[in-house]
Every structure is written in C-alpha cells, then in structure tokens.
C-alpha cells in the first residue's frame, strides 16, 4: 500500500504523459472528459451524469468509408485506437459495467474497435468514500470499497491511499511521488464504507427468481403493463446506463461515397430492431419489459449469473418519470430481503 498527499492529486494527473479522462464539470453536469489543466475535477461525484462507457464505446463512431472509383468500390476502414490513455477515478460499479461490456464486445466475434480502446486504456479506480442514496451495487456483487482496477485510490481526507494491482497499474504508478503506507488504515476505510453502504435504502434487494429458470414467469407477469404505463419511451435511462450496449449501424451519404457509422440505440425506441415485417415490440409495455428482462434475466442466464445491472443508480437519478430498475425488482421480485 502506498499513499500521497491530497494536494499532489492534480499534479499527478497532469504528470501522466498519456491522455487522461476523468470526471470533470461541464456546466451543471459531471462527465468523463479529457482532463486538461484548469478543468474542475469532480472525484467526489458519485453517479456522474455520463459514464466511462462514453470512452470505450462512444455514442457514435465511424466504422468505414466506401467510395466509388469507376466501377470499383474502394473501402477504407477507420483506424483502430492505438494511443494509450488513462481513465482516472472510476467507481467500482462502472468498472463492473466495463466487465459487462467486455462480455459482449470481446466475445467471439471480437469487436475490434472496442477491443483496441480497451487494450490501450489503464483504469484508475476510486473507492466510494461516500456512497449515494441511490446506490445499490453490492446486490450485483460489486464492492464499493474495492474497485477491480489497474490502480485503486482510497480517499482519506488529507491524503490518498493507492495500490497497483496489474502490470499496467504498476507502470502508471511508478513515477507517482508516493510513500509507503499502512495497510490497516485502508482496511479501516473499507470497513467504514461497508457501514455507510449498509445504511442505504436499496442496500439489500431480493434478486431471488431473477434468472433463466424463472424466465417465462417474469416475462408473462401482468405487472409490466402498470410498471411501464408512465414510461415516455425516451432513451434517458439507456444513455445514462453504464452497461446498455445496443447500437445501430447506419450509412450516411457523403455525396461521393458512404460513411458507415454506428451509434447507440435504445430498446425504448419504436424503431429499435425494426424489421421488414414491422416491429417486434409494438408498444412501450414490451419495450420496457425488454430493458429490464435483458439486465436481470436474459444476460445472467447466458453469462454465468452475471447481471447487466451494476447498481449505479443513474436510472433512478435520470428518469423524468421516476421509473427505475429498483421499482421493477421490488415489484417483480419476491419481496424485500430487508423485511
């Protein structure tokens, strides 16, 4: 275990030779953006408005370009990322979300656009000294006190404790002006975080029955109709979610060729996975059900029980009509295990 004084933090970030993405203020919001001197760093913010997903899987990206040359079509692929970079200050839930994205994009066939960005990134995790009221990460096996990152930071007021867990992390930390620190101090911080987390309203949810074995039972529940009624069908929840990974691939006519790009899509939209026969999810009831069934039932049933919700609480913060996954879990689950 190592540590450095609190006032060294921005110096350390500025000294990193590769681009650093960190939670910074953008007007009234906090987003992960390329850090530059003078920006307001917001490592205190739990549940940033946008997530680190934006860096690994941007809202839109070009894939390839087609150009007609006489009777042949010239195809140019977009270059894959080749520059190393650091994402600084990522919470445990958002790191778990990256693991969910890995399951999707790094499974065969590998998404080489994502894979290149993933490979070149080093993640500096940040323990949640003050979990928020809307947090419920531990339900999904996430420990807010111990993010699974290349380097982890623990806030301790006048100093930061830090530890590297991978070769990438050790290489990054090498030049940091740290000193040896007491392991026990970090254990105390972790214990304090656990106590704070346990006092949160959604600390313990009952996820019994959210698995492949109960798929049809959940799918056929009459409760979906009422749960989905207030849903506007906007994409706020899907775009704020660190694990939502659905995208669309589209062609843009550039005038002398075609630019093929992909952009985030949302299962909340009426034209999502639209097919020649029409849409397979004709009303918001089916679209709403899809989103939660995917996170709580389909994904774990195909991924060794790994849920694709990480309990970050952003859908709680962002839904204009106050719908969210906790309400779904409580309505469709088998009661609250706090009872």
């Amino acid at each position: 275990m190592r540590k450095f004084a609190a006032d060294q933090l921005t110096k350390i970030i500025s000294s990193i030779s590769t681009p650093v993405y960190a939670p910074v203020e953008d007007g009234s919001m906090v987003v992960y953006d390329r850090y530059e001197d003078g920006m307001t760093l917001r490592l205190d913010k739990v549940g940033t408005d946008k997530t680190p997903k934006d860096i690994l899987f941007p809202q839109w990206e070009n894939l390839m370009h087609f150009r007609m040359e006489g009777k042949t079509i010239q195809l140019t692929e977009e270059e894959r990322a080749k520059e190393d970079y650091v994402i600084f200050g990522v919470r445990a839930c958002d790191i778990q979300a990256i693991k969910v994205l890995d399951r999707v994009f790094l499974a065969d066939p590998i998404d080489t656009y994502y894979a290149a960005r993933r490979e070149h990134g080093t993640i500096v995790g940040l323990a949640c000294g003050e979990p928020a009221k809307s947090c419920f990460c531990k339900n999904f096996g996430v420990d807010p006190a111990k993010p699974d990152a290349d380097v982890v930071l623990w806030p301790a007021g006048d100093c930061w404790y830090c530890e590297a867990y991978t070769d990438k992390g050790r290489a990054l930390m090498e030049s940091w002006p740290t000193e040896a620190a007491d392991e026990a101090a970090v254990e105390t911080i972790k214990a304090e975080i656990a106590v704070k987390y346990d006092a949160l309203p959604f600390a313990k949810l009952n996820l019994n029955g959210f698995d492949g074995d109960h798929l049809m039972e959940k799918f056929d529940s009459p409760k979906w109709k009422k749960l989905s009624m207030p849903c506007l069908g906007c994409g706020s929840c899907t775009f704020a979610c660190p694990t939502c990974q659905c995208y669309d691939i589209r062609d843009y006519d550039t005038g002398n060729g075609i630019q093929r790009y992909r952009c985030w899509d949302s299962c909340m939209y009426s034209d999502f996975t639209l097919m020649a026969h029409g849409t397979n999810r004709p009303t918001q009831v089916e679209r709403y059900r899809q989103r939660f069934m995917h996170k709580l039932v389909y994904f774990p049933s195909r991924n060794d029980g790994m849920y694709s919700c990480v309990g970050c609480g952003r859908c709680i913060e962002k839904c204009p009509m106050n719908l969210n996954i906790v309400k779904v879990i409580k309505a469709l689950g088998e009661g609250d295990s706090n009872d």
Binding site: M29, M229, C234, F239, C263, D265, S266, M321
Partner: protein, 293 residues
C-alpha cells in the same frame, strides 16, 4: 396539500363507484420521498396508492392522448398550468372533451429533490383553463411565481449574435438525442415523428452530426410555436440540463410583441396568432430587420 389530496381521493373513488369514470390518472409514491410517478388507477383498492402534493410535478396531459382512446371516461388530475396543455390539445382536435373528467388541482408550486421546479419559479397563473370541478384551497390560489418568466430570454437578447450562438452551441452540444423533450411535450403529438421514421431520410438516433446543436431543437421549437403553452416539461425532463424552455419562451415573447399578448391553451378561440391573418399583422420584413444583430 394533504387536505386537497384527501378530498381528491374521496371524490375520485366516488366517481369510480358511480360509474362516471372508468379510471383515474394521477400519481403514486415511489421508493423515497420525492420520486413520484404518474399512475393509472382502476378501482378503489388501487386508489389506496394515489397521492397528490408537492412532488406531482409531471404534466399528465400528454398521457391523455392514449387514455382518450380507451373505453369510457378517464378522470385526470390537472394543475392550472397542465389545463392549458390539455385545452390546447382539445383545440387541436387531439382529444375529445367528453372522454375526460377533469379535476382541477390546487397547486402551491411543485418540487423535486433539489427544490422548486424551474417551471414553478415562473408560475404563469392559478386559473384553470378547463375543468369539471376544482379541488383547491385558499393557499393554493395565492400566486407562487417568484421569477420574471421572460428574464432568461431578456438576458439572451442582450447578447451579441456571436455570444448567443456560442451559448446555444455550448448548451445544445450536450444533447444526447434521447428525445425526452419531444416525448414529454404535449404539443408534440405527431403519431410518428419524422425523426423516428426510417423512411424519412432524416431519422437520427444519435448526435452523429452537428444537427442536434444547430437544428433539431430549433426545428422543434418552431414546430410547436403558437401551440406551446410554456408548460416547462422539456427542461424538467432533460437529462443533460439543457434550458430548452428558453427557445420556446423566446418565440412566445416575440409573438406577444408582434401580435399581442397570447397564451396558448387559454381562450376558446381556436385561431392563434400564427394561424390567423389580419391586415395589422407585422410584416415579415419587420421581423427580419429586428433579427439583425
């Protein structure tokens, strides 16, 4: 507000019981103190979960588009500002009056976790534009707006064209095209929005070009001009905190100045400043001249 809620609840249960209405569109509590959601209640038992009070900020008028297609009448709870949206939808023949029983709900200003809603800070009126009955209190009839509704617009007008352009580029560049503003807007009632239609050629699921920054919100503001009641829902729901209401208010302010004071949804006249013509109307040239920086 507790007293208003109790009277409202009792009245709704009675109207369900005597068959006047088949369902009630109101709000229910969430998991915490602030996270109320719109909800539909079909019987007295379900009405147990009904709430009305400080966190009933959502405008229920847009839901009426779907509710109006159901069998029987729907009781809908509308706050004073919500009645403007509802009545505007009647003017536009999007709703049938006889399909609804409207309880005008007294309002002392709505809140969320962060405090008073932006739209309530510039409360327009405590009058109900349309209703079957009103359930309010002396307290709820007192004005609550603390801000000049057009103050934000006036600030923008003071800017140079370049400053204003930069301001909007900065704000609109945050747009993630989630379409919450469009979907919540009671004036956006196209059955299929052109931007959702793959055959339109302009469908846009994500901000892949500067279209969002330059065009989308401005097109939308013009499309609802003259029909927008300034209900403020667009800014309330924006997950990216874009002050969209300022676009609508600018158009309202211009219309008021050019064609006389007008509040969409208020009167019984279906013709609006932008859908009627008089010889006294401002010439386009005047508008054009004034727009020059």
């Amino acid at each position: 507000m507790q007293e208003i809620m109790n009277r409202m609840k009792a009245r709704a249960i009675a109207l369900l019981a005597d068959g006047t209405v088949s369902r009630v569109m109101g709000w229910e509590k969430g998991e915490g103190e602030y996270d109320w959601s719109p909800a539909l209640f079909e019987n007295a038992e379900e009405m147990e979960a009904f709430v009305y009070g400080d966190y009933a900020g959502a405008n229920l008028s847009k839901y009426c588009l779907k509710l109006g297609k159901l069998e029987g009448k729907t009781l809908v709870i509308l706050k004073p500002c919500d009645t403007l949206s509802f009545k505007q939808l009647i003017h536009e023949h999007r709703l049938e009056r006889e399909k609804f029983y409207i309880i005008g709900a007294g309002c002392t200003g709505m809140k969320d976790e962060k405090g008073a809603l932006l739209k309530c800070n510039a409360c327009k009126s405590k009058e109900f534009a349309i209703y079957d009955e009103i359930i309010d209190s002396e307290e709820s009839r007192k004005p609550t707006g603390v801000m000049d509704r057009m103050a934000g617009v006036a600030d923008l007008e003071q800017m140079t064209a370049q400053e204003r352009y930069d301001f909007w580029q900065g704000e609109l560049s945050r747009c993630i095209r989630c379409n919450a503003c469009r979907n919540v807007c009671p004036a956006c009632t196209c059955i299929k929005c052109v931007f959702d239609n793959p055959a339109s050629g302009v469908q846009s699921k994500a901000p892949v070009t500067s279209f969002e920054e330059n065009m989308f919100h401005i097109i939308r503001a013009y499309h609802v001009a003259g029909r927008c009641t300034d209900c403020g829902e667009c800014s309330r729901v924006c997950p990216q905190n874009i002050p969209l209401h300022l676009l609508n208010r600018k158009l309202i302010k211009d219309m008021n100045e050019l064609y006389g004071e007008y509040q969409a949804g208020e009167g019984d006249e279906e013709r609006t400043p932008l859908t009627s013509y008089t010889k006294e109307d401002a010439e386009p040239g005047i508008v054009h001249e004034r727009g020059r920086a």
